[in-house]
Symmetry: C3
Subunit: 317 residues, 3 copies
């Protein structure tokens, strides 16, 4: 990315969105404010002309219906267009083209690029070569900053504030980039983070260390019951069978983290259950009708956050 003239108040104009680490609290407040405006657009007139004539390249080297659909919807609701490149197995990449060349081609056609790629660091490489903003739509086990932003935005929208909350993360905390990124964003606030996972899927020590360096009280347990009653946020993730060598352990572990209406009886009246989706059994369908089930509102917030980011990096906020 080359530097562009920033618009007052918007420090994102012309910038890439690569990592949660680039956001300070002020930045988050700015983006969340814009996202609330986007919600008003979507719920009111449904769309605007803010990005009319702008073109987004959605370059997805691996599938992600949710992320790609919400970027397409975000761009459409702001009047812009999308070049979808979803089947990269079916494209010039299969002819051996390098990511930089693909990026430099797409920057000739479009105003902003969203990249989803299986390799950690690929978004950074893309951004180094692109003159237009690159938004990281997930790069392997690396970052997925727009997911973390929508997660945090959901907490604020659901509970009205972030400071002072107890956030319980449950499930696969070892491999889940979602919880890692969210934890890093949460560390900008005065929160408690409680990690609930079987031993084989514990939150990595380096993340725990980072949180503690920043003065975030953390706790760890394998038993959800220990912390459930304290949770203001219960952030549930998938426990993937293939992570386990011992399948008997998997079966035991899996069951212990399934959220049901019975689970929620022991939770606060005012709290939220979140999940990055897709879920595969971690939250029973009976929970969906509980007002604390926020995961579909979380989806919706994803579109508002992406609308906000697109508008911001294109200097239209």
């Amino acid at each position: 990315m080359i530097t562009m003239t920033p618009i007052p108040g918007n420090s994102f104009y012309g910038r890439d969105i690569l990592s949660v680490d680039q956001f300070a609290r002020d930045d988050l407040e700015y983006i969340f404010g814009v996202a609330e405006g986007m919600r008003d657009i979507a719920r009111g007139p449904g769309s605007s002309d803010l990005l009319r004539g702008k073109v987004l390249s959605c370059l997805f080297y691996e599938p992600s219906t949710r992320t790609s659909s919400s970027f397409v919807a975000a761009m459409s609701r702001l009047g812009g267009s999308v070049i979808p490149i979803n089947e990269v197995h079916y494209s010039s990449v299969t002819k051996g083209e390098s990511l930089p060349d693909t990026i430099r081609t797409l920057e000739c056609y479009s105003d902003v690029i969203v990249l989803r790629h299986p390799e950690t660091g690929s978004a950074r490489i893309a951004a180094d070569f692109a003159r237009i903003p690159v938004i990281n739509g997930g790069d392997g086990i690396g970052e997925h900053p727009t997911q973390a932003l929508l997660d945090l935005f959901t907490i604020q929208e659901e509970l009205g504030h972030i400071d002072g909350l107890s956030v319980v993360m449950v499930g696969d905390l070892k491999y889940g980039r979602t919880v890692h990124s969210l934890a890093r964003l949460l560390s900008l606030y005065n929160v408690r983070i409680l990690c609930v996972a079987p031993d084989v899927l514990r939150m990595p020590d380096r993340i725990i260390a980072q949180l503690q360096e920043r003065g975030i009280p953390t706790g760890e347990t394998a038993d959800l019951n220990v912390v459930l009653a304290d949770a203001d946020v219960l952030y549930v993730t998938r426990v993937q069978k293939e992570r386990f060598e011992d399948q008997a352990l998997y079966e035991r572990v899996k069951g212990s983290y399934v959220i049901t209406p019975q689970t929620l009886r022991r939770a606060k009246e005012k709290m939220v259950v979140m999940h990055p989706l897709p879920r595969v059994g971690e939250i029973s369908y009976e929970v969906d009708s509980d007002p604390r089930a926020a995961y579909f509102r979380q989806m919706e917030n994803g579109m508002y956050i992406r609308m906000a980011l697109l508008a911001a990096v294109l200097g239209k906020t």
Copy 2:
């Protein structure tokens, strides 16, 4: 679907389009009237802003170039946008996500969903979970209501009326959902339905029984020549090789239902030949230049009907 406030005259606002059985004659007349207006838009200015800012999710679990293309075109010509999700093998569904969760995700991003799915009843399930309208784009051997609507619309546009016509259906009447759905719609009118098929591909007895209950005169034969001269509509369908255990029988049967210029010499001067397409030899290319060959106009009508349905369920008619 939740109930929305209907607009006077449009009983489709906020409703799902799941089955031909939900249409009464009044409904058909209403939709056909709107479709004629859509044709005027397409043939005149080419497009309108009627659905500007609206987003359609095209969720296709199996391929259908024709259906998906005409929905994309319909939405585009009305100024709306499309989230195409064509490669579901390549999406979160492959991560094991349930149809209801996928639907609830897409309803966060879009205003209406078209679903194509290989399993009968899937459109109903989707509609039960969605707060936004769901249009059935074909669910297995179940329903394909927009196809039946465009078929009936084509008959009316080509011949000026539907009452009083003799409709000959030929080919695979056993497995073809197209002819089943069209027969059910036709039963709202005063028509005769004549079924021409080899024994192994006969129209199912339950469909014949339904038609007769509604007072529709029906007839069955394996010999097209018996009824051809009476046909106002000759609705041709594909005879698929894989339906036959006896390949010799297939070869004999297949040939006997190929429509050629010679076939049409024995047909009325004013009648129409229809086919849901794609054809694979059932109608020879020489027939295309016959003014009675209506199958490409039938395609075109598909776009008008889909424009009408989208506008109707979104309350913009």
Copy 3:
């Protein structure tokens, strides 16, 4: 294509774009003038409403990220919509549908068709059946006229003129349709064409003969050094491993045509290096920062040329 009333000055209204052979110098100048206007739109406001309400069907029977993306971008920047049909393996074509039927279906939904197809002559067949303009997006080893147009446009934009130039083509000149088409377009000008290729990948005699018939001075060599210093344009193409029976020869040949900063030291100060991309090693990344490296500007010009062609065939220039 049926004939439509032409707009004064635009002889392309309603016409197909099938082959470079349909272009005279006047036509090229007309299209290049329109393309320059399109660049002003893209670089200024970013988009226009010129093709608002128009629908393009992008029918790709084989992958081409670059060509399809630039057509999608071109249509979007002119306010039009696109029906992308990229995965033809996944469509009705797999049900055995013929190209003419697919074309006749798409013409019901759209205003113009871009076809990419592996078989030579397929674009002509499509055009014979379509009432709307068909643009050849590459048909096998046949033609790829929009690529040749953007190549020639790039030469003119980079060097200010075409007459009088020495164009060196290097790499696989036997199978590369790009160089064949460009050579035919260049033969409308007063240029010299110098062919640099190993013996097994020589420019076909029929092309050389055509050029000489038209009075174009040509030369052939296997050694780039012989002609490099004279080059105003160095047009580099991929040397594909699979063309060689003798792999040792491939390895030797491959290395001899790699363009590096060292290579360019022996080239003119004012000249351009072009490549249709994707490259796989033929031009080293170090060359990218050389002002003579024009291949990414060439990409960009592809969008302007396609915007110009779409506007022209739709009568909006």
